[in-house]
């Protein structure tokens, strides 16, 4: 029974890192896209949304080909003494990639919903662009971003395909809950799998409930 805590803690660690990275990256990209006037904007948005629809095996393959020892960036990573394949950091990259569109999409919608007049007013009152962002745009979009981040967290927690391909199955080091479940089912350990399945399901339901509670729609319905 004690064995479940190791993969659970690892899954939480990976999902939290992936969410944190996406909060910075996804919010920055979303803000940029929401303010960028260009015909290629939707093309860029579509490309950034790809991880949501591409099979995880495709993402895993890309990651392996890019980051593996013989990959495109393999030599460079090796010189920097960075190991990504078969490490938990590799799992973080896989989870970050698959969950990125969830934060980016939610954040972009949230930024676009911010009333431009409020931002203009802040500028008129003498705030610089960075201050407008941190004191007006970001706080107003925060709920939407938080909802996206929770979805991303739940997605990262359940990431399996790309993670297995790049981080492998190293018990205690890269064996996340979903990989441990897969290994248990393959080995015929149905009881072990059932416990881990239950824990994963409950964690994801809690994250989704929180996301629903934070979502902007919820506010409107409660306070019309």
């Amino acid at each position: 029974m004690g064995a479940i805590w190791v993969p659970l803690a690892l899954s939480l660690k990976v999902a939290l890192w992936a969410t944190a990275i996406n909060l910075v990256l996804g919010v920055a990209v979303a803000f940029g896209l929401s303010r960028w006037r260009s015909p290629v904007r939707e093309v860029v948005d579509s490309i950034l949304t790809l991880p949501l629809v591409l099979p995880p095996t495709v993402l895993g393959y890309y990651l392996l080909v890019m980051l593996g020892r013989r990959g495109v960036f393999g030599g460079w990573l090796d010189r920097m003494d960075i190991q990504l394949v078969f490490t938990w950091q590799g799992a973080v990259i896989a989870s970050t990639l698959v969950a990125f569109p969830l934060v980016q999409k939610a954040a972009r919608a949230a930024f676009e919903a911010v009333d431009p007049q409020l931002e203009s007013a802040a500028r008129v009152l003498g705030l610089r662009e960075a201050a407008v962002f941190f004191r007006v745009s970001l706080p107003l979009a925060a709920r939407g971003i938080a909802a996206g981040a929770l979805l991303a967290f739940a997605r990262a927690l359940g990431e399996f395909g790309a993670t297995l391909m790049i981080a492998g199955n190293l018990p205690g080091r890269t064996q996340t809950l979903s990989v441990a479940i897969y290994a248990a089912v393959q080995a015929g350990d149905d009881e072990g799998a059932a416990v881990m399945v239950a824990v994963t399901s409950v964690t994801c339901v809690v994250a989704l409930l929180l996301a629903a509670w934070l979502a902007p729609n919820h506010l409107r319905r409660v306070r019309p």
């Binding site: 593996g68 018990p171 393959q186």
Partner: protein, 248 residues
């Protein structure tokens, strides 16, 4: 609405692939190339029969068959998986026969950076990761574990272990240079000669033999046992030998 015919076509494309005359053979990953060749030869001799293969780690196949997957023939890479199949009443025990044998080898990437000549060398600090099948579900992992336990190396090596889902994944990890060494069957190493080098043939406490059997409840038991006989015929044996499998 011009899309409608296209959608209709896509909905039904490939539906004919799983017909009644298909013989579904669930075989261990290490048999992938050899059995595909055997299947082609069998189809030539039995026109009208289409052999469909399902390759995975033996225990995965066993789980599928025990859960009612519509396979007709089961070929596993060790006796343990077949014993489990017998216990689960998934196969017809009367049809169980050994049809091939293999060797366990320690392989290293072709452009080797770390010197590994025997399993004992895996203890060196320069060897950071070693790939082998998950002993809980992959036969080559069980052979690896047994062999290393016999040499008193299991604890040291398993601390660096990367568990593969089947023998071919372990081969792939070595071929890509992601691990310093890995354990696979001699026949797997042979198909990737341009990428991996055999560092040592590793003796196993139990011989590596491949059993085959007709799945219990197969709707084509006769055809299935025909395939089983073909695998053991002179022609089947010579195809297997061509891929490096030895007689049982």
């Amino acid at each position: 609405m011009r899309l409608r015919p296209l959608v209709a076509l896509l909905l039904f494309v490939g539906s004919g692939a799983a017909g009644a005359a298909d013989l579904v053979v669930s075989a261990a990953s290490s048999l992938t190339d050899a059995f595909q060749a055997v299947g082609k030869a069998y189809e030539v001799k039995h026109p009208g029969t289409h052999v469909v293969f399902n390759f995975a780690a033996s225990d995965v196949l066993l789980r599928q068959i025990a859960s009612g997957a519509p396979a007709d023939v089961f070929a596993s890479a060790d006796q343990a998986a077949m014993d489990k199949a017998v216990a689960a009443k998934a196969i017809d025990p009367a049809t169980r026969q050994d049809f091939a044998s293999n060797r366990l080898v320690l392989i290293v990437p072709k452009d080797v950076t770390v010197k590994v000549a025997s399993p004992a060398d895996l203890k060196a600090a320069t060897v950071k990761r070693v790939a082998y099948g998950d002993p809980a579900s992959v036969p080559v992992g069980r052979y690896t574990k047994a062999a290393l336990e016999q040499q008193g190396l299991w604890d040291a090596v398993s601390a660096k272990g990367v568990l593969a889902q089947n023998v071919r994944q372990s081969l792939d990890y070595v071929a890509r240079g992601e691990v310093e060494a890995g354990f696979v069957f001699a026949t797997d190493a042979a198909i990737a000669k341009d990428k991996v080098t055999v560092a040592a043939v590793v003796p196993t406490p139990k011989p590596i033999t491949y059993p085959i059997a007709v799945v219990a409840g197969s709707k084509q038991a006769k055809e299935a046992s025909g395939f089983e006989s073909f695998v053991q015929s002179a022609e089947g044996r010579s195809i297997l030998a061509g891929f490096g499998f030895e007689a049982p």
